[in-house]
């Protein structure tokens, strides 16, 4: 049988394809979850004239982990940062369409973005602790929102650090400067700092891209721990990571939401040709 070179490549990748590379773990259903928590409808984001995210329509389900994948510059970070309006920091950034959070318009005229960000916590690509002590870092949010009592604060700090699986490592040096922690510890501290304000949604913007494999594993474990308690969204470049930690995956390409499906389905049986090409490494 005569085959063109392209066809043979296609054939090979089809053989070793998605199923063998990514085997998403079996996942338990979360009771009380699965309600649309964030809803986008024809939602577009512009940087000036440039349409960075194009008419996205999607429901992010509560208490589940949703991963966003896609090549660099595809708008995945932009989309996620628009949920808690971090894009407001960028001049000339505006949106069209609707983005609802808990039935409320995120970009509504009367929306208090400060309150919104309290409910939608975010962890950034690079660990970004304040140059303060670990305690002050974690207590920063609660203090902002009016908690002054030392005992209460101590309770919140311990609880948050325990949730972030960092308590055992730092409990005896809470007064040390947070910058003295290792990169992985810093990132988990940032998660703890975000959890301390008791958000409903946790946005993770490539949280492990600046970390070594060991620290990455810890963050991934942490996501598993937090699954079910928070609605989690994670932007990642690492497709294995997406398949390991998420229940749903969104694939963005050039600002368009190409596919949004349960992770198991998206990685083993992608509906869209583009998705398949991307996750099999045909382009990146």
């Amino acid at each position: 049988m005569q085959l063109s070179p392209e066809a043979s490549v296609e054939n090979q990748t089809a053989k070793t394809s998605v199923r063998d590379i990514y085997l998403p773990p079996e996942r338990k259903k979360i009771s009380g979850g699965g309600v649309p928590h964030v809803m986008a409808k024809n939602f577009s984001i512009y940087y000036g004239e440039f349409e960075a995210v194009k008419k996205v329509t999607a429901d992010i389900l509560s208490k589940y982990v949703t991963a966003i994948i896609g090549p660099s510059g595809c708008g995945k970070s932009t989309f996620m940062r628009s949920i808690n309006r971090m894009n407001d920091l960028i001049p000339n950034c505006h949106t069209t369409g609707a983005l609802m959070f808990d039935g409320e318009d995120v970009y509504g005229k009367f929306t208090d973005e400060v309150l919104l960000r309290k409910k939608i916590g975010m962890v950034f690509q690079k660990p970004n602790p304040f140059p303060k002590s670990i305690f002050d870092n974690v207590a920063y949010g609660p203090r902002l929102h009016g908690i002054r009592d030392r005992k209460t604060l101590e309770g919140i700090v311990e609880k948050s650090l325990r949730k972030a699986a960092l308590w055992d490592e730092v409990c005896d040096r809470l007064e040390r400067n947070a910058l003295s922690l290792s990169g992985g510890q810093q990132q988990r501290m940032c998660v703890a700092r975000t959890l301390a304000v008791e958000p409903e949604i946790l946005l993770l913007d490539e949280p492990t891209s600046a970390l070594d494999p060991k620290a990455t594993a810890k963050i991934e474990d942490l996501i598993q721990e937090l699954r079910g308690s928070y609605t989690i969204m994670i932007v990642t470049h690492n497709m294995q990571q997406a398949s390991r930690v998420s229940d749903y995956t969104m694939f963005f390409y050039e600002g368009v939401l190409v596919e949004h499906a349960p992770t198991a389905q998206l990685f083993t049986n992608p509906k869209d040709r583009m998705t398949e090409d991307y996750i099999t490494g045909r382009f990146s």
Binding site: L115, R117, G121, F124, R176, A178, C190
Partner: protein, 448 residues
């Protein structure tokens, strides 16, 4: 480019760099060494008994009994000189008319030269000005006076094509054959016994008020005035500058107006300081009438306007240097913009802001032109805190200029001028050093 040329270029550039650093260091040395050595001369010198008399009479410092003993000791030698004088006076009375006429004028000169050397002679009225009530305070000055006592300065006008030359004539020679001739060798040999020089550490130079417009005494009014003016300028300029910097970096929308404001700020930083001085006079004193006439308040405000651009600029840069991630982290936790600025951005920018502030403080302390018309007077006593709204003050920068150029006895008080320069340089240096230390400490705290 081949390897040889590259290495040669590297080397020659290194040599050039080291050369320029060496030249800078040399210049610094050439400037600083005389300032330091002469400046310390105002504090540490061989003080005469006249200095100790002055200290006791004017500042009530020193032990009365010791002083009386010393006076008695020096008087023993002085009496002898005075005896020679009175001998000569009787001799003069007995001379015939023409010789009397010849000697009287010269004798008067000798007497006044002796008076500048030893202080008022017995039997004369106490002079009104303090500077004539005491002999030379310093042994080096006493020796200069001794020269003009021993030799008369004359000018040689013989060659009309050239500038007149000075030459010295021994006074003793002109009294040859009279009893006064003994006086000159006697004074020359016994001057140290009449003036009793001893090494003195005159710390009062820093803390005393000046007496008789800086001929004697200290420079405390100037130091205090400088501190008042600089700190006052800071009190106005620092908060204003930081607020403006926060506005520029955090609130202002980029646009025509903002860029205009920004370039106006940069231009303001380059305006000559004398222009600020005139502006201060025209605006704060004549228009706003913050005070009747010159005052510390008007001077501080003028200096504040002058250093404001620098403070804004450095604060702006410090704020912009705060990593964007801090801002994101804080806002992401549901912090308001204002809270983010106060609790995260300003603390992180603090080392830079403080450095800019203290350097501006040093500049405010050292500037002369802005305070000429608004705050400075050449002679005055230290003012109280309550007077800053109405009183002008002496200040180091202005008085250095004044003493060196406009003072009626500028040549007599070189040591005071150098002392003032050293004090000013020290104040500015201390300020800058404290800025560096403070900055290091805060950054260390921030870095953990």
């Amino acid at each position: 480019m081949n390897l040889g040329t590259r290495k040669l270029l590297d080397r020659s550039f290194t040599a050039l760099g080291i050369g320029s650093i060496v030249i800078m260091a040399m210049t610094l040395l050439i400037v600083l060494v005389p300032i330091v050595s002469n400046g310390f001369g105002a504090l540490v010198f061989r003080g005469t008994i006249e200095h100790r008399k002055l200290l006791y009479n004017e500042f009530h410092r020193g032990d009365h009994e010791d002083l009386q003993k010393e006076i008695a000791q020096s008087d023993r030698y002085r009496q002898h000189a005075f005896a020679i004088l009175s001998n000569f006076e009787t001799e003069l009375d007995q001379m015939d008319e023409s010789r009397q006429h010849e000697y009287r004028g010269k004798y008067k000169e000798v007497k006044s030269a002796l008076q500048t050397l030893l202080g008022p002679l017995p039997g004369e009225e106490t002079p009104a000005l303090t500077r004539f009530q005491y002999g030379p305070n310093r042994w080096d000055k006493a020796q200069e006076k001794l020269q003009s006592f021993l030799y008369e300065k004359k000018w040689d006008y013989s060659n009309p094509d050239e500038v007149a030359k000075e030459y010295f004539v021994s006074r003793a020679a002109s009294f040859e054959g009279t009893s006064l001739v003994r006086l000159f060798p006697y004074v020359e040999q016994n001057l140290d016994k009449m003036l009793l020089p001893e090494w003195t550490f005159y710390w009062g130079f820093i803390t005393d008020s000046s007496i008789d417009s800086h001929i004697f005494g200290g420079i405390w009014p100037e130091i205090q005035g400088t501190i008042f003016l600089a700190v006052g300028a800071m009190l106005f300029a620092f908060p204003l500058g930081v607020v403006a910097a926060v506005y520029f970096t955090e609130y202002a929308r980029e646009g025509f107006l903002t860029s205009m404001l920004r370039s106006a700020n940069s231009t303001l930083a380059g305006v000559p300081s004398i222009v600020f001085g005139l502006f201060g006079l025209a605006f704060f004193i004549n228009t706003l009438k913050v005070s009747e006439s010159k005052s510390v308040l008007a001077g501080s405000l003028t200096l504040a306007i002058m250093i404001l651009p620098t403070i804004i600029r450095s604060a702006e840069e410090a704020i912009l240097a705060v990593p964007k991630t801090y801002r994101e982290a804080s806002l992401g936790l549901g912090s308001t913009k204002w809270n983010t600025i106060v609790t995260v951005i300003l603390p992180a920018a603090l080392p830079g802001i403080i450095t800019g502030g203290v350097i501006s403080l040093g500049r405010a302390a050292g500037e002369t032109a802005p305070i000429i018309f608004t705050a400075a007077v050449s002679v005055g006593s230290a003012i109280g805190l309550a007077d800053i709204f109405s009183s002008p003050t002496p200040a180091l920068s202005w008085n250095i200029y004044n003493l060196a150029s406009e003072h009626e006895a500028a040549a007599e008080i070189r040591h005071v001028q150098y002392g003032m320069v050293l004090s000013l340089v020290t104040i500015v240096l201390l300020l800058n050093m404290s800025a560096i230390i403070l900055r290091a400490r805060i950054s260390k705290k921030l870095k953990g």
